[in-house]
């Protein structure tokens, strides 16, 4: 079992009680997960994990030190605090060290469900069976993962803050391929409860995609109007999230950077169709109630109708600049519409539908808004408003700001885990129709 709120508070109390420095931040991160992995229509293994991380950051004579352990016995806790204080003693005074936070008012979202938190391999059976039996019936090869579990995050400071949040999670993904490997389909569902995993819908979508993918053909490199399904859109255009940092924008590292380091807040920099926000109370992608420093999450509009409204500032940079801390968000919600993928496709005379992508990365570490990657399973040609032929995978390069400035239409949204975000927090991303998307070359695979 994960630590209860009282148990977490007791450990935090012990940690803070051992601190001799003038300030301290302690946090606990717990995890309990269960997963079932399958491939080739057989279960490969089940896995169960229980972990706890105890983190201590101490300020001692204006210098900070940090230490982490995953043991919570009294001796380990004392040793970890002592290590953090020893580490602080070798540091430099960093100018004005931002003080830790005092008590906060947290908005708890509805993101913990007992069915997912407590689910073991038995609860995965239904989903795995559905995929395997369907694939066997269609003479396809199915693979995938069911993962359920819960996490806790607790933060406390010497200034009286204590925050605690427990969240559950549930994920089902499946990939189906023909035995010849010439066609494939992929689909996934993410959520906080087992009720979010509609495995019947997921499996049928993957099988249908595989059926439509047979006989993939090549297209010429060039500029195309592309309709992105939400997962693919998030993996390409989710890199915009990495640009929403104030300090990086000041020093010229983001696509929003201006000559002289001026912050372009209030300027129209993306399509007026697009808004981006964070909200701990959103039902689709609720942000964590507290961040690593214990700061309470609130609804923040980063981009409103294409106008840049807010940039994140970490505590140290905020103190240096005399600004309020704006926590770097770990989950985002984008504006969307009720238009289906078919609706977005209907407006395209000749273009491409991209359902999945692979390995989307910045092409240059210094400019993380130009990305390259390969389209994945479910790439189709669009002709006269209809999906007509499956396509081989396509390599592409895209300037994320360009795409989000010129986007033609937003469609229906879905929960996704964009590759640009490490935090494994769900985002709610729309399908997109983007003009003049650059296809560099056509590859051999599907």
């Amino acid at each position: 079992m994960l630590l209860s709120e009282n148990e977490a508070q007791e450990i935090c109390r012990k940690l803070l009680g051992a601190v001799t420095g003038e300030d301290a931040l302690v946090s606990l991160t717990g995890m309990r997960t269960s997963s079932t992995a399958f491939a080739r229509n057989e279960v490969l293994r089940t896995a169960a994990l229980h972990d706890l991380e105890v983190s201590v950051t101490v300020t001692l004579a204006g210098r900070r030190g940090h230490a982490v352990t995953n043991q919570a016995d009294d001796e380990s806790l004392r040793r970890t605090v002592a290590t953090a204080e020893r580490n602080a003693s070798v540091g430099h005074a960093e100018g004005e060290v931002p003080p830790t936070l005092g008590p906060q008012d947290y908005r708890q979202s509805l993101s913990w469900f007992a069915d997912a938190a407590e689910a073991g391999p038995d609860a995965h059976e239904e989903h795995v069976r559905r995929s395997i039996e369907r694939c066997r019936h269609e003479d396809l090869l199915g693979a995938g993962t069911v993962e359920t579990g819960e996490s806790l995050h607790a933060v406390a400071t010497l200034r009286g803050l204590f925050g605690y949040q427990r969240r559950s999670r549930a994920r089902f993904s499946t990939t189906v391929r023909t035995r010849a490997g010439d066609a494939a389909g992929e689909e996934a569902a993410y959520g906080f409860s087992l009720a979010d995993l509609d495995s019947r819908k997921v499996v049928e979508a993957a099988v249908e995609c595989c059926r439509r993918s047979r006989g993939a053909m090549a297209v010429e490199p060039g500029l195309y109007t592309v309709v992105f399904a939400p997962v693919a859109a998030a993996d390409v255009y989710g890199w915009i999230f990495t640009q929403l940092d104030g300090w990086s924008t000041e020093v010229g590292e983001t696509c929003f950077s201006q000559p002289g380091g001026e912050l372009p807040l209030g300027k129209q920099l993306l399509s007026e169709k697009l808004s981006i926000w964070t909200d701990p109370e959103d039902p689709h992608a609720p942000a964590a109630a507290l961040d690593d420093e214990g700061l309470a999450a609130r609804r923040i509009h980063w981009v409103e109708n294409g106008v840049l409204r807010m940039l994140a500032y970490a505590p140290q940079k905020a103190v240096e600049r005399g600004l309020a801390v704006v926590p770097a968000p770990t989950s985002f919600i984008l504006s969307s519409s009720a238009t289906t993928l078919d609706g977005l496709v209907a407006e395209v005379d000749r273009g491409i539908l991209v359902s999945r992508t692979q390995y989307v990365q910045p092409t240059d570490d210094g400019h993380r808004y130009v990305v390259g990657g390969v389209t994945g399973i479910g790439t189709f040609l669009i002709e006269h408003g209809k999906v007509t032929r499956p396509l081989l995978n396509l390599r592409f390069t895209e300037d994320v700001q360009r795409g989000l400035s010129e986007l033609e239409a937003l469609g229906c949204a879905a929960r996704t885990l964009p590759v640009a975000i490490d935090a494994q927090e769900l985002c709610y991303f729309p399908s997109l129709r983007i003009p003049s998307f650059r296809v560099e070359e056509c590859l051999a695979g599907v």
Partner: protein, 471 residues
């Protein structure tokens, strides 16, 4: 075993790490991490169950073992045939990374002073506006025991010094970067001492200054002379992962993964030109995959992957070898932490240098129209490992056998097979270096493992060069 398992293994791993960093002459908070836990994997009714916990107590061991067995029973209901697995034989063995100085025994004060002195060297060059220097040290104690009476204790060490130099382009206000070529190694603190870091800083600050006036590359096909520091990652991504047997068998936990090195192409696929000889091992001193035994208790070994351009060998582990005809375990299982299931990972991968003493300068002199590219950059590769794109740190135009001007934003795209078959000249042994990463990712859920890759400099003809900023 009392619960009905036919095979059981346990791993207890204690991992201690320390990160010391200096940014712009200011010491950053030192990061210390102590991590301990255990994992239990069992075979029940021909299926795998796994469970792990950070709480190492007798009661928790009992609970976790029961959990692994009950999970295995669920898995068994979905198997048409039992898992084919040949456990490691009974043994009692120890292995330790040969080190001279335990990196965690070096005082933080000494590390901080050294890093500050490196920063002063960098800031002698006025164009350097920012510098981050980080040293990451790791000690791992890995204990393996199986129901076949195989007991292995290993103590592994890693050290990773790295730095980033930044300058500002005064015209555009954009930061220009040069990341170091210093790589992680399975060594003690002597790794930091053996690297000529002051010389490297001097060399790279000069390159950073030159990069400020570099010209954007014009996209088109041409010859590439790739420095060892650039070719290592390309080797790892286009051949390393491609020869992992689990991918050839139809994927493992990463459901969309596959490989162009399919089972029917073993011993027949012309993967590269006749010059291309690639070997895998876990014994090269200092290389990141080097250890005595894998995480299924098998001793490690050296084997050919590509011989004179022909694909001849897979990286294999006991969990997968018996599923493919003619394969046997080669000690390539790796569990990233106590919380992870052992996964098949490509070990150290090395492209052999050419037999002749060909230098980088010789490769350039033999090139009429091309680019010389050094340092590792961003990369992207498809799930079949058949087509990738790679960047770098610094590049120069080659015209009629000479370097003319520095270029920026250079990337190259390639089909893996076309790329390796276009290898026309290999650098000699003096151009060969071993690099690698501590963070090679694979699987779902993802695991990150240390992986070494070594290569000489080499020339590749008619490669598709693109501008990484899409200009």
């Amino acid at each position: 075993m009392r619960q009905g398992a036919t095979y059981a293994e346990a791993r207890v791993i204690r991992r201690t790490t320390e990160g010391v960093a200096v940014l712009d002459r200011v010491v950053q908070p030192v990061r210390s991490n102590a991590d301990l836990g255990f994992g239990v994997r069992v075979l029940v009714n021909g299926a795998w169950g796994f469970a792990a916990s950070q709480l190492v107590t007798p009661d928790e061991v009992e609970r976790v073992a029961r959990l692994a067995v009950s999970g295995g029973r669920v898995a068994a209901a979905f198997r048409e045939r039992p898992v084919e697995f040949r456990p490691a034989k009974a043994c009692r063995a120890q292995w330790k990374t040969p080190i001279e100085i335990d990196p965690l025994s070096v005082s933080q004060k000494e590390k901080v002073e050294l890093l500050l002195s490196y920063q002063e060297l960098a800031f002698r060059e006025p164009c350097v506006t920012n510098m981050m220097f980080d040293v990451y040290s790791v000690r791992e104690e890995r204990h393996f025991a199986s129901s076949e009476s195989c007991y292995v204790d290993q103590e592994l060490y890693y050290v990773w010094p790295s730095f980033l130099l930044v300058s500002i382009d005064e015209e555009t206000g954009e930061p220009i970067q040069r990341a170091s070529d210093t790589h992680a190694a399975a060594k003690g603190w002597e790794h930091v001492q053996e690297l000529d870091i002051p010389g490297h800083i001097e060399h790279l600050t000069a390159q950073l200054k030159e990069k400020l006036s570099a010209s954007p590359v014009e996209p088109r096909r041409r010859a590439l002379v790739l420095d060892s520091s650039n070719l290592q990652l390309t080797l790892h991504e286009t051949i390393g992962h491609a020869v992992e047997l689990d991918l050839a068998l139809g994927g493992d936990a990463q459901s969309a993964s596959a490989t162009y090195c399919t089972l029917d192409r073993l011993d027949t696929l012309r993967l590269g030109s006749k010059l291309v000889n690639v070997t895998a091992d876990r014994s090269t001193p200092g290389a990141l995959s080097t250890c005595g035994f894998d995480d299924e208790g098998y001793p490690t070994e050296t084997f050919s992957v590509v011989r004179e351009g022909l694909f001849v060998g897979y990286a294999t582990s006991a969990s997968h070898a018996l599923e493919a005809r003619g394969q046997r375990p080669r000690g390539c299982a790796y569990a990233a932490t106590w919380a992870d299931v052992p996964m098949l990972r490509v070990p150290n991968l090395t492209l052999a240098a050419g037999p002749d003493p060909v230098s980088v300068e010789d490769l350039i002199a033999a090139t009429d129209d091309g680019i010389y590219l050094a340092g590792a950059g961003s990369f992207s590769i498809d799930e079949q490992r058949g087509n990738g794109q790679f960047g770098g740190q610094v590049a120069w135009e080659i015209k009629r056998g000479k370097l003319t001007r520095m270029l920026r934003d250079v990337g190259y795209r390639c089909s893996s097979l076309e790329f390796w078959n276009s290898c026309t000249v290999l650098g000699g042994p003096a151009t060969w270096t071993m690099g690698g990463t501590l963070m090679c990712g694979k699987g779902d859920p993802a695991q990150y493992c240390p992986s070494g890759h070594g290569a000489p400099a080499a020339r590749f003809d008619n490669i598709d060069v693109f501008n990484t900023r899409a200009e």
